[in-house]
């Protein structure tokens, strides 16, 4: 039994990167999992499992055949990072007792209702949701672009 799990698993991390990649391909085209795996240096087998979960959750679609591959099921503006993350990693919870559906009580827990750590983490959970549920793949792409511009300009000045 997992007592504590990291806030973002490898699956969640790679899943978001794959979605970021798919949000950047031209509309109407598809990407193959091998090119996504190579771009981020991850195992194709692991990525295929991740993409299967995202497909199951209704965030990506597949096209079969020789020209087949993956693409987003909705426009990048409509897919929220937090929504995809719930499908990849389960409930958004910084600690397992702060979730009802992936709930685990700490082994050494004496009183959950008054636990200072849990009460703080419940607030953290709401804060995580409020950030990630309003951040779309398009917003994420914009953040990345903004960050790269800054870097370029910084190089020019120095």
């Amino acid at each position: 039994m997992r007592i504590c799990r990291p806030m973002l698993t490898m699956k969640g991390k790679y899943g978001l990167k794959a979605l970021h990649y798919l949000s950047g391909i031209p509309q109407g085209s598809v990407a193959q999992s091998v090119e996504i795996a190579e771009t981020y240096g991850m195992s194709k087998k692991f990525l295929d499992a991740i993409l299967a979960d995202l497909r199951n959750g209704g965030f990506v679609e597949t096209r079969k055949g020789r020209a087949g591959g993956y693409r987003l099921a909705h426009r990048p503006e409509e897919i929220m990072v937090g929504h995809a993350l719930r499908v990849l990693d389960g409930p958004l919870a910084p600690i397992s007792c702060a979730s009802r559906t992936a709930y685990h009580r700490c082994r050494d827990c004496e009183d959950e209702a008054t636990c200072p750590v849990r009460l703080s983490m419940l607030e953290v959970r709401e804060a995580i949701a409020s950030v990630l549920d309003t951040k779309s793949l398009a917003d994420m792409r914009f953040m990345v672009e903004a960050a790269s511009i800054e870097e370029d300009e910084f190089l020019e000045i120095s």
Partner: protein
Amino acid sequence: MTHHIVIAGGGASGAIMAANLFRLGDGALRVTLVEASGEIGKGLAYGTSNPSHLFNVRSAQLSAFSGTPDHFDRWLAVHHPAFARSGPFVPRSVYSEYLESALRETAPVGKFRVLPQSCVGMRELEHGVEVTLDDGSSLPAHFAVVATGFGLKRDGEGLLSNPWTDPLPDNPGSRVLIVGTGLSMIDTVLSLLDNGHKGKIVAVSRRGLVSQRHALHRPLQLSTADIPLGASIHYLSRWLTDLVRTHEANGGDWRDVMDGMRPHIQTVWRNLPTESRQRFLRHAVAFWDVHRHRMPPAQAERIKTALQSGQLEIVKGRFLSATRCGERLFAAIVRTGWDEPQPFKADVIYDCRGVRRRAGQELEGLAGALVASGAARLEKLGLGLEFDRHCALVNAEGEPSARIFGIGPVTMGTFWETIAVPDIREQARQIADRIATGSRATLRGSVARLP
């Protein structure tokens, strides 16, 4: 400066809106409730006078004010102590009386009036709204609220009788057919039984599902962080059934999960992709409804007895049409699994098909007029008018209005879960806040324009 607010529709939504405006506003306002019947709080849901027609929501959730959750219970204890004792499911007929008293309590003398007319149009102007009435006159207002409910016609369609307005059959032995098996069917059966009906009652719907019964109220504490927002309906429904299964394996009841979802339904609906909403409406809505909108135990017991005795029969099938042959009516019904329609003989046929069958059809009354004039547009699924997240009416160009709002069932397409009192009073609070902010902004605006 006193602001004038016009509310179109005087059912529960309109009355709750008015009471919240007075309670939350700064006092400098006048409210006109435009309601053809001239009566307050007696719309589709609460117009009934039959004491067997109960609320299917507990009395503790029926306060007209989000900020004072025990307002209704306190009123009930004073005015209907017997119901308060026998609760928590009380007759719906007391609600219009409660809403009237809530309005008397909050509305200052001379600031509130009911206009016995129909509202037929609204036009947003730069500094106000022009509201047109069916006698051809118009009312100037600073803000307007559309509270026209489900927009269902009051009279029956063709040979079908309206269960809320048409008289019950005189002959207790007559054969009754009810089209629809939802909560209106339950109310109609109870009315017939109260009236001493002895004849056979057949109720028909495509899936033949009947509302489940209420049990103990122990909602599961769910957070939005737990719920897979934005995922497909396929994923969401599997998540929900898995959650029910796990919860039941741990000794819980499925109702706890449904009641735990209750506060999040608007958020889930808002984030549900359009094609998932369509699939939900096509395949799952009947299952959802019978679990979400449950019967109080006392009603469920009477329905069970009627089913067991054979007086009430539920038929799975599709109603096509009704024809008259002499004194009798014949309904053409295709039973599920059959190809050909079968004639069902009846003396009276009640139309209990519910409120959503109109999806995609043209809207009537004020809602239709607003769409025709470009002041409003249909939301994507055609369930009703489109509103923004804060209940502002969205016009044909997709811009939310700063002066026209919507409350209650008329906003169902946008919010889905807006037909019960807890949601309606929350909308009322939001709109009252918006109007208070909007009127302050107008004031600042007019001050700024002074030379």
